[in-house]
Amino acid sequence: MENTVDFRAGIMLPRPPSELLADTTIIQAQPPQVSLSSSDAVSVEVGERVQIGTVIGYDRGLTVYSSVSGTVKSIEKGRIVIDNDCRNDTAPPLEYDRTSSGGLRDYMRKISLVGMGGAGFPTAKKYENSRGIRFLLVNGCECEPHLSCDRALISNLPRKVIRGALALAEAAGGASPFICVKHRSLLETLKNACAGENIRIVQVSKKFPQGSEKQLIASVLRCEVPRFRLPRDCGAIVSNCATAAAFAESLDTGLPPVRRIVTVAGSVGQCANILTPCGTAAQYLIDLCKGALPGSVIIEGGAMTGRVIDPNSTFVSLSTTGFIALTPGEINESSCIHCGGCARVCPSGIVPYKIDGAQRAGDTKELMRLCADACISCGCCSYICPAKRELTTHTTEARRILAAQREARQ
């Protein structure tokens, strides 16, 4: 019996056939050009030479750094396209103050670190107020069945994850760090790589959605994030292991994080974990993996929580975890048969079929009573539903309505 910790409800997803999964080998990609989003301001001109780490613009309050060395090819519609000369010249390293947690937080802001688990929340904002933070959970659970980028990262670079976790814990004002993984092998790897550091490695369940922030806190810390509140109310901050590793690397090199490991899996010629600069087109990575099966759709993120994208106009960002080629089975939405499956699997403890009904009827009061705001959009209800109803779509929409209503009231 493995000594794992667990959360309420959730589902054990079947493991996809191994030919649809990537192994932990990391391939390096060198795309001919990258396209970076820079919607607020642009600080380079067409034809200018840039290096890895050159400031090229500002995007939603964050500094944008070039992810390759080369020349700026075009600037249009808030996107900067840079031709890669593959020489990997780097800009002069950034300065930082390692001695205080405030210094580390300033550095986080300077390098525009964002959460690399998928949501892309600015890390500096998350660590802004470190008062009362006692635990730092580094999330290496990766519960989406097709993704293995975090697994590849931990098994290849366990030291970097550990150093990153320690640095993040320091930035959080001396919280005690935990690294949470779901595979025994990763647990061993990390334990062997720990050189007596004060860090705890926890093995968590293989259930979905173990990688969700709230479920991870419930599993490891045995407490619930109160409704309408943030993890910090449990005294915890959760960061992805890729964020930790990127932070560690940034501290080493003085360069901002501009590349990440992306899983390309599903019905592609050769599944792989690819270390690639930000701004790489999804199509380039898929071609690198010998192309997707005709008729399949490309999903960014995992098959449960991801969304369909156009691979030609989607580019890797720091929060891109993977591109999955899938041929989803066609479904036919029919009447709810009241089996209760959705309520049984819901990790938030809400009753999706009732929320679905109330949302379709536009009954906002009922949505509030049913606590639709607690939905984490994990997709368990849609997965289990025998009537193939779009429960996740409607609960997510219900949550959005309630959030808008709350905002309007404040």
Partner: protein, 313 residues
């Protein structure tokens, strides 16, 4: 209309139709025992019942201009359940009447599958029991075709007869072994849970043992569970999705309530058989039970996680 999902691209294979097909398969052993003991009239009645249910569902949906849902097989399940819960001597007109009542009054006027408060098959059966009791309650002996009583009224039926089904009763409810086998299929497929059936049968046995006879603790618990329609009702009616609570705790409460009511009706009520009205009564309370046993919402406390700041070592 088939299309690819908007989100959540992994979906479980099992659909509504698969679930209903498994219920039909699980009823097949009982259908075999019905034919074995009561002759081919049982098969023909069951076939007719399924046909009438499916046709009346289709007709209703055509008239009300809804999408046709007969392919989800829920109407077929209702038809088979209804025929198996009636004695083989039931007149054809009564069966057809019960079928139409079950589908239209029991199911469609509530809005179709999943929306009905009461179990459709039991609605059909209940209406017959109340309205045409003399035609329905004349149970048949498997051997001479003579009208006989069920073990509940007659008593003195051997345990082997109760298990194999060679005694009077409704078509599908006599053979305990085959009912258990069919239910086992459903249970192994994960389609039904044990909560409601065990709650119901346990309560019925317990109460019968205690208060079944004038003298305390001398009741015939085995006969009560195996003799009448208790097994059939507990396995196939008390596990109906639509008309029972969706939560596990709710289903246990539902089962206990149905078992207790069955006992009360049998012991002190006007009829020997109480399963039908016990389950119908509990159906009525299902939405309330479900509401009261709703899961705790994450972040509101009480999900068994210890309070704040207690980390694993």
């Amino acid at each position: 209309m088939k299309r690819i999902p908007k989100n959540v691209f992994l979906r479980r294979d099992t659909g509504t139709g698969d679930i209903m097909l498994w219920v039909l398969l699980a009823l097949c052993p009982s259908l075999v025992s019905a034919v074995w003991y009561f002759g081919f009239r049982a098969l023909w009645l069951s076939f007719l019942s399924v046909l009438v249910c499916v046709v009346s569902e289709a007709l209703w949906e055509i008239i009300t201009r809804r999408s046709i849902t007969i392919t989800d097989l829920s109407a077929a399940v209702t038809g088979l359940l209804l025929s198996l819960s009636l004695p083989v001597t039931v007149p054809v007109w009564a069966l057809v009447f019960a079928d139409v009542t079950a589908i239209i009054i029991g199911k469609q006027i509530f809005g179709g599958v999943g929306q009905n408060i009461f179990n459709p098959a039991l609605v059909g059966r209940g209406v017959l029991l109340v309205g045409a009791a003399a035609d329905v309650i004349s149970f048949t002996s498997p051997y001479d075709g003579m009208t006989t009583a069920t073990p509940l009224t007659e008593g003195e039926v051997s345990l082997s007869a109760l298990l194999s089904g060679s005694h009077g009763g409704s078509m599908g409810e006599t053979s305990a072994i085959l009912l258990i086998f069919g239910f086992g299929l459903l249970y192994c497929r994960g389609i039904v849970k044990l909560n409601a059936p065990l709650g119901m049968l346990g309560t019925l046995a317990f109460l019968t043992l205690l208060f079944g006879e004038e003298k305390f603790l001398t009741g015939d618990a085995v006969g009560a569970v195996l003799g009448g329609g208790a097994l059939f009702g507990a396995f196939f009616m008390a596990t109906d999705y639509s008309s029972t609570p969706a939560t596990n705790t709710g289903r246990t409460i539902f089962g206990i309530g149905a078992g207790a009511l069955t006992f009360v009706i049998r012991r002190w009520g006007g009829t020997a058989e109480g399963v039908c009205f016990a389950i119908l009564t509990m159906n009525f309370f299902s939405p309330l039970i479900e509401e009261l046993t709703a899961p705790k919402v994450y972040g509101t406390g009480g999900n068994g996680y210890e309070r704040k700041y207690k980390a694993v070592s």
